[in-house]
Amino acid sequence: MLEVKCLKLTLNGKPIINGLDLEIKEAKIHGLLGVNGAGKTSLANLIMGISYPDGGSIIFEERDITRCTISERAKMGLTLAWQEPARFEGLNIREYLRLNKNLSLSEVENYLWTVGLPPGEYLGRAVDANLSGGERKRVELASVLAMKPKVAILDEPDSGIDVVSLPHIMNGITEMSKQGSAVLLITHSEEAVKVADEVSIICAGKIINAGPPKEMCEWFKDNCQTCNHIGEPSYKGA
């Protein structure tokens, strides 16, 4: 469904994404596991069109979208949930979720329930600084669900949130897959990728291993968690 081929990004002479290949399949959750500085967010930005690569290509449903704008990609069915979602003064949650104009109010309410936010309490609240970090991330996930995307890129949806929010976030991710969206779940937590169908491990802008979640989590624990290497992949098989 979405293929990333030999993608490259260099910033100030330093390779950030270094010939990365990745394939995301329809209605599957693909975990992308990596330590801080591995290139996870840079990859998310490239796929969504926030930034453009120096080389390689991004193919979505057999179309080369490497140079498409954010809006064009969103209209094709891609969307992104940011690690630190933006806050909007004067825009309430009902309006934020109904940016997808085809959505009924009852669907909006269902999506809020999915992420554990009672609609009666939250629909009228602004998507601003008065929401806690966990609430804001849950709203972000609900807004991605509301888009009914073909591919959802979730950049660390599990980071920096309270313990109450975490199970609701994970529920939202599995619901996304059930409604037919492919999910790229970006995280540095082995716990989070347990919901994935497949996991790739990223290091220094490259995929250095891929496979079933359980196997990859153990491999990540053994090879990456004690490795502070940022730059060239330290794993000899990379």
Binding site: I50, A74, A86, F88, G90, L91, L99
Partner: protein, 315 residues
């Protein structure tokens, strides 16, 4: 006959501007309708006294909210000038007596202005433990041929509450010279909010001053401006912490979305009591990039994304 016609014309403009026509016809709802220097309608709801005196270029108004009166429905004020040219000077004296509560909604309508001046000088006294909400919304035409000069001095008594919004986002601003100054006594709450959408050659000057004179008085001077084309704006937000445990904040946001825009913000925070605290934040800049990217990732194009952000800020 002429007055009836003026009244009907103004009501029609009032309705088009989003005013509540049912409220003006309801005997239980206090209202006052003024066109140029003519008082077209007055209704005193229970607990409210309104005295008016027509002058050469406007109307002197004395609005009294009686002690202990809790006014059930919002009081509606409608001020307008329908011809292309005119001068309207409103001298407003407000006295909200102790323990009273009222919500006042004012609509100021100048849909055809080519050379119109609308001035308001207000002298407002909010009693102890009284609560007064004042929300003024302007509806202008597109010509920009209007000068709006609202000025108010507001004294808020002990544990009194003053909260006001001034909103000018429909049509061209023209020239705006807004100057509100509050003096808050002990444990009073004093809040000013101004929202303006400047376009074309609009010239906007805003002064919000809050003096926190009583112990534990609180104040917020907030402004939200969006400026496009060649609009110019200067916002002065001043808060003075003059008493122990007074807390104040100045919050100014100006979104610049045009090559010819000039925007200035001048926050002033002043404290002369060691136990008072006043803070400020002022931001001037283009539309936030991350907000734009977020909305575009939800399928909006650039123009639609700007529109959503701007409407939110000015809401």
């Amino acid at each position: 006959m002429l007055v009836v016609k003026e009244y009907e014309s103004l009501l029609e403009a009032y309705g088009r501007a989003g005013g509540n026509l049912d409220a003006l016809g309801n005997k239980e709802v206090g209202n006052l309708v003024i066109h140029e220097n003519k008082v077209l309608s007055v209704n005193e709801a229970e607990g409210i006294k309104v005295e008016t005196q027509e002058t050469q270029n406007g109307v002197n108004i004395h609005l009294l909210v009686e002690e202990g009166a809790k006014i059930k429905y919002p009081v509606h004020l409608c001020f307008g000038v329908l011809p292309e040219e005119g001068l309207q000077e409103i001298a407003l004296k407000v006295e909200a007596q102790d323990n009273s509560e009222v919500n006042v909604i004012a609509h100021c309508i100048f849909p055809n202005a080519v050379d119109v001046i609308h001035k308001m000088d207000a002298d407002i006294k909010i009693g102890d433990n009284a609560r007064f909400s004042y929300h003024e919304t302007h509806y202008h035409g597109e010509s920009g041929g209007i000068k709006v000069i609202p000025k108010a001095k507001i004294k808020v008594g002990k544990r009194g509450v003053w909260e006001s919004t001034f909103s000018l986002i429909e049509g061209s601003v023209g020239m705006l010279d807004y100057d509100f100054e509050i003096f808050g006594d002990e444990k009073s709450i004093n809040e000013l909010l101004v929202k303006v959408f400047g376009k074309k050659e609009d010239d906007i000057r805003i002064v919000e001053k809050i003096h926190l004179d009583g112990k534990e008085a609180r104040g917020l001077a907030k402004s939200r401006l969006v400026l496009t084309d060649n609009a110019r704006a200067v916002v002065r937000g001043e808060t003075y912490g003059n008493a122990p445990f007074a807390r104040g904040h100045v919050d100014c946001l100006e979104i610049v979305n045009g090559d010819g825009v000039i925007a200035r913000a001048i926050p002033l925070v002043y404290v002369n009591d060691k136990q008072a605290k006043v803070t400020h934040e002022a931001a001037i800049g283009s539309v936030d990039k991350k907000q734009m990217q977020t909305l575009m990732a939800r399928g909006l194009n650039e123009e639609e994304a700007v529109d959503v952000i701007v409407k939110g800020i000015l809401r």
